[in-house]
């Protein structure tokens, strides 16, 4: 489903964030991305979603080489993904409901459909009662769950989640893990970075460890 082939990423003016990474994620797999801070986890996820481009090497998603993709095709590629960002990237001037609705509006769903799906997604992260709140009125963990709701509302085939449990206490972290497990069971491919692999133990994910930009054996 996702294949990285000898990928190196060097940010402009920086040192190498990734070096010679080759990795294959199969359809329906649950991959846990581990590594110390600065190891390159976020960078790896961004390369998969074509948010960053590799300095060398190639990234393939569903058989498409992202390097050969026309810029106009990138939005359609990204709609296959549900993205959970490390920094949430919520719109502060929009309500929770509007934030979660954004992926559906982008793809042209009609109003009634949007309302129904947004409610369902908020239910799954336990935030139904906050749908009219604005992100600033939410705790860090609640914001994180809004971000997760936004990532799954359009039922993507692949979820790329960057530290989705970082701000959550154990109870909520386990709920998110349960949510991801449910997605995994219906065939969604998940790549999740984390500093806390123990909360994912019950899923028995495949673990990939990055160390200073390279895959550890």
């Amino acid at each position: 489903m996702i294949r990285l082939q000898d990928v190196t990423k060097r940010y402009p003016g920086g040192q190498e964030a990734l070096h010679g990474v080759s990795l294959e994620v199969n359809k329906g797999e649950f991959v846990l991305l581990l590594g110390h801070s600065g190891a390159g986890k976020s960078t790896l996820l961004k390369l998969m979603a074509a948010i960053e481009r590799p300095t060398s090497g190639a990234v393939w998603v569903s058989g498409q080489n992202l390097g050969g993709l026309r810029p106009a095709a990138i939005p359609y590629l990204r709609r296959n993904f549900g993205l959970v960002f490390q920094d949430h990237k919520l719109l502060l001037d929009r309500s929770v409901r509007e934030n979660v609705a954004l992926p559906l509006r982008i793809t042209g769903f009609d109003g009634a459909d949007i309302a129904r799906r947004v409610r369902a997604a908020l239910d799954r992260v336990g935030l139904r009662d906050k749908e009219n709140a604005h992100p600033v009125e939410l705790s860090g963990g609640e914001q994180q769950r809004v971000c997760i709701a936004r990532a799954i509302v359009h039922r993507p085939a692949i979820v790329l989640a960057d530290e989705p449990t970082a701000n959550l206490d154990d109870a909520y972290a386990r709920e998110i893990v349960a949510l991801f497990q449910a997605l995994h069971q219906v065939g969604v491919t998940l790549v999740v970075s984390t500093h806390a692999p123990q909360v994912f133990e019950s899923v028995r994910p495949r673990q990939v460890v990055l160390s200073k930009g390279s895959l550890a054996a």
Partner: protein, 302 residues
Amino acid sequence: MRTWLREHALAFSDTLGRMGRSPVGTLLSILVIGIALALPAGLHVLLKNLATLAPERSAEPELTLYLQADLAEPDRKGLESRLAGHVAVSKVRFVPRDVALKELEKATGMASIQEEIGRNPLPDAFVVAGRRGAADALEKLQAEAGRWPGIEHAQLDSAWARQVDSALRAGRVFILMLAGVLVVGLGAVTFNTIRLQILNRREEIEVSKLIGATNAFIRRPFLYFGAIQAVAGALLSWLLVELAVGALETQLGQGASLLSPGESLMRLSLLDLVGAGLIAALVGWIGAWLSVAFHLRRLDPT
């Protein structure tokens, strides 16, 4: 098709919502555009009213040929057929001196010119109507015919009417140029409003792109914004001109009695309004499109 309609309806309502969220800024922009467009629109109405004052025949020039007093009938007939055959001439009318006198008495309201002077001071004349647009040829004919035997004097009529005519034409050119400049101004105002909006909504644009929004999706509400704002400005300028004409009508009617009761000034026609609205919408749309194209490229995360 339904999706397409829905997306546009969505962008449209989204745009109105956005305007509602910053009413002061929106109103100020519309005011600037409205006042700027009211200028050429007002001049256009002024010119329309002036044009009704100019005599209608000014479009078809006339040449009057005064005949020598002692001209014999056959010579007169000869002149007439010569004139009728000329390329610049559409119609020749003979005005005998006594008819001319009656016309003069009627026009001036002096009933007894002949009695006071003792004789009819007017000569016989040909009134020659030129072909439409043949003013130059008629002018040549004037010089030529002035030297023909039997003709005392050739006069190209109503120089003032032609001056009014060319003044009106110059006025129209001026208005067109002014409108052109202001249309560019409208585009620039729109470009700038949209630039500020894009900066304000930078986050939203970036996040939208990250989760799969196409450029068209991002562009759409801004294009609507540009067009709606410009059309609102055009409507405002129409309203301003209407108010001005109304006030002027009252002044001219009551104060100066230049308008008789029931008489009214020309106003902007529906065609003027619709035309201006369409042009404004187009220019607003284009201004917004350029602005989005220019500023989105700088925001592109990839």
